[in-house]
């Protein structure tokens, strides 16, 4: 797909923490360069002004969907965007929002009071449940450079190169101490898609799986390892569900 810079780009935010937007802004050294090639039509974290362009080149979508109103907005943006890219765990899998369990009506009332009972919401859904998604940038949040690389690749008519591999590979490359092997820690590195440079295990924190599951992941064996390490079935389930790695 050919684009002539500056590309008309909008950032849409649904149910999320805005951390993905912040991640793009954390590329301080590249923002001036970005401004040359991008015409920004919407970016909630920077401005409450809503762009009303009739057509967009690229829509970056952050967050999960939780209400009919959000679905309408998403559909409208899909109709006028040449490319629609899902950004971050919430948009890709529902993210931590999707952990919510139990009776929805009761939860709404207990958190928001009587007003909560009136709101029309549904359990958090990834955006691909509603629209065609042309590209995905995983992570909670994604790595700052990934957002720039995606925009740069789109400008060149492509999509960033990408290796399908688990976090363990980057963790070994960085010569980190293996938390799974040495501490029997519940690290999700073996089944989680890499690209984060094994950030968490490198800091001694077991991988939480925020970048989603690699294809053909061996969950059975990881489950066995965690049980052997003394985790309960419920603890393992919670761990896997945090970012939608449970089956």
């Amino acid at each position: 797909m050919k684009f002539v810079p500056p590309i008309k780009l909008a950032w849409l935010r649904f149910t999320s923490c805005s951390g993905c937007q912040l991640t793009l802004l954390n590329n301080e050294d590249s923002l001036a360069e970005l401004a040359h090639v991008v015409e920004l039509h919407n970016f909630p974290l920077l401005s409450s002004a809503c762009g009303n362009a009739e057509a967009l080149d690229v829509a970056l979508v952050e967050g999960s969907l939780t209400s009919p109103g959000e679905v309408e907005r998403l559909l409208a943006i899909r109709r006028k965007s040449r490319l629609l890219v899902a950004v971050g765990a919430c948009a890709l899998t529902g993210g931590v929002n999707a952990m919510v369990k139990g009776e929805r009506h009761k939860a709404m009332v207990s958190i928001y009071g009587k007003a909560g009972a009136e709101w029309d919401t549904f359990p958090p859904q990834p955006i691909h449940h509603f629209v065609k998604v042309d590209g995905q940038i995983p992570g909670c949040p994604p790595e700052p450079h990934e957002l720039l690389q995606a925009i740069a690749a789109i400008l060149h008519g492509g999509w960033p190169s990408h290796q399908v591999m688990p976090v363990c590979m980057e963790c070994r490359i960085n010569e980190n101490r293996c938390l799974l092997e040495e501490d029997c820690a519940p690290c999700l590195g073996p089944i989680t898609q890499a690209g984060c440079d094994a950030l968490c295990p490198g800091l001694g924190v077991p991988c939480e799986g925020c970048r989603g599951v690699v294809p053909e992941a061996n969950r059975d064996e990881l489950y066995r390892l965690f049980i052997t390490a003394g985790l309960s079935e419920q603890e393992i389930r919670h761990r896997l569900e945090r970012f939608g790695a449970a089956l």
Binding site: L148, A153, Q163, P166, E182, P215
Partner: protein
């Protein structure tokens, strides 16, 4: 040529300072977390023994990710190369592994540039229960080997460095290879391997394998790579070479979605075939130098040697 002056403290110091003058010095360094890594050591100290590092020497000769070329402002630019470097404290098995990589990448420009820039100093090691080195497996690469008393020149460059340090007379005896390490090496033949393609041990090992790729990442003779293209906002386009891994789901995939090795069992078999029997002009050369890194790194204790031993037992069953 072999040199035999006792390596007095001053000579070791001389050697280090002579190498360090023109080269970036690297050596195995044991971290507080118990992990041994190859790191730059500046002016020393000289390690007393060789130690296997988590990621082997290939990290300097075939970096995890290297830019092959860059296209910027209408011009192609070749990748920048690292300058001369020396690695001090290399195990004998790893010197074999480097010899193997030298054969594989004999026609590779960037590898050969790094090869020309390197100087490798072997030292004695302390083998552990994972070690299965075999002196007869293949020749050594490297420039000099030193222990507490003697120095061996392994190349003409090594000879020159030793001469410059005033070490001139020949040492006696062969290199001090650890002895008795080959007992647990199963001598499996390609025929035995091929005949046991459906052996139950493959499915069993595959059920445990996490496909994490650690075994191949830490292997001193694993060298599979992928090529990736990337763009930057300023219009620069670059091509990189990055380590690949035969345990990853896309390693055996080709255009059209066909997968040469679907499933973990096929990938484990591929790794054994590549490791023990080689491909192309190196077919027939076992490239497992017996360093034991894969055994140590595997979170589920998969051991190719144990699988090979089972295959020999199960052949025809």
């Amino acid at each position: 040529m072999i040199f035999g002056d006792p390596l007095e403290h001053t000579l070791r110091e001389k050697l280090l300072s002579s190498l360090g003058q023109a080269r970036n010095l690297w050596a195995p360094c044991l971290g507080k977390d118990g992990i041994c890594r190859l790191q730059t050591i500046g002016a020393g100290p000289f390690p007393a023994l060789a130690q296997p590092t988590m990621i082997p020497l290939k990290k300097l000769l075939l970096p995890y990710r290297e830019t092959v070329w860059r296209y910027q402002s209408g011009r192609f630019r070749a990748a920048e190369m690292t300058g001369p470097f020396a690695v001090v404290g290399v195990t004998l098995c790893e010197l074999q592994a480097v010899w193997y990589l030298d054969q594989v990448f004999a026609a590779d420009e960037s590898y050969q540039t790094r090869r020309a820039n390197r100087f490798l100093v072997g030292m004695p090691c302390e083998p552990d229960s994972n070690c299965r080195c075999d002196q007869a497996l293949m020749p050594l690469a490297g420039d000099i080997f030193i222990d507490q008393e003697q120095a061996w020149a392994l190349s003409t460059a090594g000879e020159a460095v030793l001469h410059a340090c005033g070490c001139t007379s020949q040492a006696e005896g062969p290199l001090p290879w650890p002895v008795g390490m080959t007992a647990q090496r199963p001598a499996i033949t390609p025929e035995q391997y091929a005949a046991a393609s459906d052996a139950p041990v493959w499915a069993e090992a595959a059920s445990h394998c996490l496909s994490c790729g650690a075994c191949s990442a830490v292997c001193p003779t694993c060298y599979c790579f992928d090529m990736l293209d990337d763009a930057a906002l300023d219009g620069t386009v670059s091509r990189s070479r990055i380590w690949d891994n035969c345990f990853f789901a896309e390693h055996g995939k080709v255009a059209g979605g066909y997968d040469f090795r679907p499933g973990r069992a096929a990938r484990l078999r591929f790794r054994m075939e590549h490791k023990f029997f080689g491909f192309g002009s190196l077919r027939g050369q076992n490239s497992c130098v017996g360093c034991g890194r894969c055994r140590k790194a595997c979170p589920v204790d998969i051991d190719l040697d144990q699988i090979a031993a089972r295959l020999k037992g199960e052949e025809g069953s």
